[in-house]
């Protein structure tokens, strides 16, 4: 008797599973089992639930904290309660937080991905809940749809601005062959890959033959690590410029140069982020240029986009940003190059 019951249960379970798999999330397939009715409740939650939005943060650093500040300010203006949770760079926590938000009956969630490849998993976990990916891009933009959008900056632009600035610098000097030292962020992250790729592509496109003076240096976006890596190379390795994936590592390089009694303004050092310290270094002439990534704008943009999704409004309504020309589900918050000429605007 017992075994038969168990068998029936297993069969029913397998049927439910295969049905769900066939549905592929395109339509909420009516599940045949009894408890299939339970999840439907959350979908039919009162519209008032949009007042609560969760922002899932990959980690807390200076830049992302500014993003949170922007989103919090925008939430206060819109009368939305924003809860920020921190994954501490653990991808599985991201899924947990999204499921918790869904269970709480929230209509939309803002996600700053730990890992781009996690995007599909997040979309599945969110069920009917709408998603705004912010800052870090999903692995495939084709995953975006009417319910899943992206708000952020195009990482290929940040490296492009670095590359253009360096190309101009060396062309003005009449130099077309350069040796560079490249400080990489955390390997495997989209930002690291695209920043490195785009700066090298841009140099090449501008007729600069760039070769690496060392093996690729990986300083994980950390200032002390960059300092320790650059220091032994000074005086032992010939190079024309230092390219850094962020300001913190560029500042580490500057610190290394200064501690070796070398002038950091002699050879261009370029960063990305335009942090307070980065901007100060540009103003002091120690860093050649940096690229401003609008953390506040991304935070505000993400919250506005979330509300637009819930209200069925156009993605960029209420923002100063533009939707991508080809993919209507991307809202671009532009990067801005910052050098000595305009750094005062960013301080």
């Amino acid at each position: 008797m017992k075994t038969k019951k168990l068998l029936a249960l297993v069969c029913a379970g397998m049927m439910a599973l295969s049905l769900a798999a066939c549905g592929g999330g395109s339509a909420p397939a009516p599940a045949p089992s009894n408890d299939g009715a339970a999840p439907a409740d959350s979908g039919a939650a009162a519209p008032a639930a949009a007042q609560n939005i969760t922002l899932v943060l990959s980690q807390r650093d200076e830049w992302l904290s500014t993003l949170v500040d922007g989103a919090t300010a925008a939430a206060a203006e819109m009368g939305v309660t924003l809860t920020t949770v921190d994954c501490q760079s653990d991808a599985s926590k991201g899924i947990q937080f999204v499921e918790t938000a869904k269970n709480a009956g929230e209509q939309v969630v803002i996600v700053n991905l730990v890992d781009p490849a996690q995007a599909q998993q997040i979309i599945e976990s969110a069920g009917d809940m709408k998603i705004v990916f912010v800052n870090r891009t999903p692995d495939d933009m084709a995953r975006l749809n009417d319910n899943v959008v992206y708000v952020g900056s195009n990482e290929m632009d940040s490296g492009r601005y670095q590359g253009e600035a360096l190309a101009k610098y060396f062309k003005d000097k009449g130099q077309t062959e350069i040796k560079y030292i490249l400080l990489n962020g955390i390997l495997g992250q989209t930002s690291t890959t695209n920043r490195t790729l785009s700066v090298l592509q841009t140099l090449e496109a501008n007729g600069i033959t760039a070769t690496e003076a060392t093996a690729p240096l990986v300083a994980n976006y950390e200032r002390p690590k960059a300092m320790d890596m650059i220091k032994p190379l000074l005086g032992t390795t010939e190079y024309d410029c230092i390219i850094s994936n962020n300001d913190a590592m560029a500042l580490g390089a500057i610190e290394a140069l200064e501690s070796a009694n070398m002038d950091p303004s002699e050879k261009p050092i370029v960063g990305i982020d335009c942090t307070a310290d980065g901007a100060a270094a540009v103003a002091a002439g120690k860093m050649y240029m940096t690229v401003f990534q609008n953390a506040d704008g991304q935070g505000r943009g993400a919250l506005q986009a979330a509300m637009n999704l819930v209200n069925g409004a156009p993605l960029n309504e209420g923002t100063e940003f533009e939707v991508d020309a080809e993919n209507p589900h991307i809202l671009w918050v532009p990067f801005e190059p910052v050098d000595a000429s305009n750094v005062a605007d960013y301080q």
């Binding site: 807390r60 950390e222 002390p224 610190e255 310290d277 100060a280």
Partner: protein
């Protein structure tokens, strides 16, 4: 084995044998330096490894992790471990840095304007470290929970407190504070140079920890506790009190490491400073012959361990070896060192 040792002792060359066995790690270090020197020459076509400048760089780079190692080696000697040192270093770095930031700085972290003279701030930082160590030590000694767990908790809490304290780098630190790591001075030709005080601090910390372990009752007690805590108790040693002191020492070293890190880089960032330094410190102590089973530790061995890690970190960058490969080599050396160590100590215990 013991029979052989006895014979050797009778023959009068026991000490020499013991000396070579104990200091085998220095032979490894010298071998590595020589090998690295030639490998880098082959790669660069110039003798750039053993230059005064590069040796200075190597010591400066390893000083912070080195000071952490002098702390954690005593925790390991007591048959414990301290996983909190990296996070604690980060926390103290951020706090001390915030005390000494120039008052007129527009991006100052402590907007209240609270500030301390550099010397006082450093003392306060060390006291914060000692207090954290006392709490962890008391929990370990009196609740008998494993040090791994107690200090893992400490690691999480210290990192979180650091991030709550400041979500952005605490930078623009004044020269008066940075003097603990480097003192700038003007050279004859009008340029500025700097004196690496951080290396002096490192050497002094080595001397203090070697003195503590070999010349004081505290040191002898820790060897006894690490070897066999029951026997130590029977011999009248206050095991609990000594364990608390072990973690006070270890955490004070970590706090000093954090202060040095902030002073050396001129900045302190809660999310990245000291990240995984606890593992680097444990690795250096282990490579230096500090046994995970407790009771065995030589300060000079730990010093050699630190320098071996430094030769790898520095040399492989000069050689242009890929970062992943560097970690593979480090991993192999750590595991290899422990295998050798266990074989060496198998006869002793």
């Amino acid at each position: 084995m013991s029979e052989q040792t006895k014979t050797a002792a009778k023959a009068g060359n026991f000490n020499a044998k013991k000396f070579f066995s104990d200091n085998a790690i220095w032979a490894v270090l010298i071998g590595m330096v020589i090998a690295m020197n030639f490998l880098i020459y082959a790669r660069k076509g110039a003798w750039v490894f053993l230059t005064p400048n590069n040796i200075r760089t190597l010591f400066e780079s390893e000083s912070v992790r080195g000071v952490l190692t002098f702390g954690v080696m005593i925790a390991i000697l007591s048959k414990g471990i301290d996983l909190s040192t990296g996070s604690l270093a980060g926390m103290v770095a951020v706090m001390v840095a915030s005390f000494v930031q120039p008052v007129d700085l527009s991006t100052r972290v402590l907007t209240s304007g609270f500030s301390l003279p550099s010397f006082v701030a450093i003392i306060v930082g060390l006291l914060i470290g000692a207090a954290v160590g006392a709490i962890m030590g008391a929990i370990i000694a009196y609740t008998k929970i494993h040090p791994f767990i107690a200090t893992l908790g400490g690691q999480l809490i210290c990192r979180a407190v650091a991030k709550m304290y400041s979500n952005r780098p605490v930078s623009n630190l004044p020269d008066s504070f940075r003097a603990i790591a480097r003192v700038p001075y003007a050279t004859a030709d009008g340029k500025t140079s700097s004196f690496p005080t951080i290396i002096i601090v490192f050497v002094v910390m080595f001397a203090i920890s070697a003195f503590l372990l070999t010349q004081t009752r505290f040191g002898k007690n820790i060897y006894a506790i690490g070897g066999n805590d029951q026997a130590a108790r029977v011999a009248g040693i206050n095991v609990e009190l000594n364990l608390v002191l072990v973690y006070v020492w270890c955490s004070t070293c970590a706090a000093l490491g954090g202060i040095l890190l902030a002073a050396r880089t001129g900045s302190a960032d809660a999310s990245t400073y000291g990240l995984q330094y606890e593992l680097d410190a444990i690795a250096a102590a282990t490579v230096g012959g500090t046994s995970q089973t407790g009771g065995i530790c030589r300060p000079s061995g730990a010093l050699a361990g630190i320098l071996i890690m430094g030769v790898i970190n520095n040399g492989l960058v000069l050689m242009g070896v890929d970062d992943n490969m560097t970690n593979v080599i480090k991993g192999l050396i750590i595991v290899g060192a422990v295998v050798l160590d266990m074989r060496k100590n198998a006869g002793k215990k």
